[in-house]
Symmetry: C2
Subunit: 349 residues, 2 copies
């Protein structure tokens, strides 16, 4: 009967719209995907092979290859854990470990199920203070802000107008529960202004903070109770609605840019917190390697849409206000996790 | 090595905390789940069997039963489509149809893959205006608001304080991109105040609106291009981050309250929009029935935590500001989809 077409790319349907639509006064509004597809080559930024991890799982029951690619977080975020992760990958530490936990609408977690495998020498113990960075003016050269659509000083993010304005729609609202959100490189980040906050240790005067946020596909570091911060050997990724409560409580070290379906479609664990209850349920990890440590011919190459350019601004605006043909009512805003930074494979030369 | 413990229930770890922690000055903060577990019996509300759909899929490869339970939306939302859905279920219309689409971080969709199966007689054609309701004072007796923690007049939702306040933490922020969010019964809803908005047909003066929002597990009605609104025969559920752009563009008719893992863990479709490309990939639906049409002995019974009570207010507050032992930094807020209304099976008498 009718076919659900609730997403961006509607090329086939578009072709069925009569020609008269082309003559109407209203401008045509491309979908977010169409905007990205038309981005000029110089809008794309290469991701360094040394910032990519490849996790190779055993093939699935049908023999299908299962490969997951993770982009590591850039400076200044979580760098101590990322140094550990590089050492763990170089030591082939994850080879023979497994996916151990799949909790619906939450996380998939991997590492050493035995909890007895010795870690490599020389891993850092990173303090909790590294969950966030204190921002400085220099950083904001790299922060994309909607209101500026350019490199900009830090200014308040637009909030929705609460009153009617004749002939003027309210501005898109990219706010969240934070003071501001934006991007550094391809990563979603949030900020707060200086304020008093309540820690478990009592009220603390916090300076301005900036940190990578948990969105679908972001990768974080498992840990035990505070003050443990995890080594980076236990990792997880988000497979549900953004768990905002984890931000600033766990180190976020990267984002899955290819193959998350090999994790998100795994059977949910039936033990507490979604842990698998039997060894048979765990999915063996063949290897995790830095792409730069693979033979050159085997190195996948990726690029992301610059978050500082005009194309990204148009894309984010379209994510917040869909006006392509399927939509009758633009949302008027989008939270940071509804504006995933486009990533694509670089085609072979 | 270390075990990731990033969720609510930490009973086993709690038991390892030395007794001295009990003597500290700080009060103990229960987790959201602990708050729900201690809710008094009168805080729970039965869900009528006539408002529940059971979708029975064929057993999985291991022979495991796969049953999904959907609670239908209460008045005043989407009632025309829900009347259609009741007729489709009564006609056994979905028997032999299938799950046809699984798009990662987006939706699972089911219905008639052939698009040729005749619909029952007498289905309604529901207008787009029914995607939302115009609120009236009476409705707000049923809307839970954080700032009031009680039946309340409609007032502006708290936004985060942007300045330091000595000895005072900013109030939790339950805002989203909307003017306000809350619950009616067990369903998440959003509201906007009267304003000018831009439709595809031009700028329109919209009155106050209230509508059910797309969160993980919410169920909506597939449709073709406007002005089609779908009959209710094609349904989908959200299996990723809340797709805010779908709100007010599609009818939301319910919420999956049990068994979503049977949908969210299905292999992702490799065709456009995540549609399965071959008939073999589709998961057959044995039946979809109203629970009230099942033999009494086979009727599962469910109840939800009242969103009007003090327990729910405590739960929502804890979701926005986790202070149970794992957490070192409360988020200071939660969006509407991070406060899922607790639902549980009623134990047999």
């Amino acid at each position: 009967m009718q076919k659900l077409t609730i997403v961006a790319s509607l090329a086939t349907l578009l072709s069925t719209i009569p020609a008269i639509a082309q003559e109407a006064e209203k401008p045509e509004f491309p979908s977010p995907n169409e905007i990205v597809d038309k981005a000029a080559p110089e809008q794309w930024r290469a991701i360094a092979a040394s910032d990519l991890l490849v996790m190779q799982l055993v093939p699935d029951a049908a023999g299908k290859d299962r490969r997951v690619v993770i982009q590591l977080m850039p400076e200044p975020f979580s760098q101590g854990w990322i140094r550990n992760i590089r050492k763990l990958a170089a030591a082939n530490w994850w080879d023979g470990t497994s996916i151990n936990r799949v909790q619906d609408n939450y996380v998939v977690q991997w590492g050493d199920a035995s909890e007895e495998k010795a870690l490599p020498e020389g891993l850092e113990t990173v303090p909790e203070s590294e969950y966030t960075s204190t921002y400085n003016a220099g950083l904001f050269d790299f922060v994309w802000r909607y209101d500026g659509r350019q490199k900009a000083e830090f200014t308040e993010i637009p909030r929705p107008s609460l009153v009617s304005e004749a002939n003027k729609a309210p501005p898109p609202n990219f706010g969240d529960i934070f003071d501001a959100v934006g991007f550094i490189g391809s990563m979603p980040i949030a900020m707060t202004y200086s304020r008093q906050v309540e820690y478990r240790v009592g009220r603390v005067n916090k300076p301005n903070q900036i940190w990578p946020v948990h969105c679908y596909g972001m990768v974080g570091v498992g840990r035990n109770l505070s003050p443990d911060t995890g080594s980076g050997a236990e990792l997880y990724t988000v497979i549900g609605h953004a768990p905002r409560h984890l931000d600033r409580n766990i180190a976020v070290v990267g984002r899955i840019i290819e193959g998350i379906e090999h994790l998100s479609s795994l059977p949910r664990g039936t033990g507490p917190l979604g842990f698998y209850e039997t060894a048979d349920e765990r999915v063996p990890i063949q290897s995790i390697r830095l792409v730069s440590d693979l033979p050159t011919a085997d190195q996948p190459r990726f690029e992301y849409l610059s978050t500082e350019g005009e194309t990204f601004a148009q894309y984010a605006d379209a994510r917040a206000n869909r006006r392509d043909p399927f939509f009758i009512m633009p949302a008027g805003g989008a939270d940071i996790c509804n504006i995933p930074v486009p990533v694509r494979r670089v085609k072979g030369e």
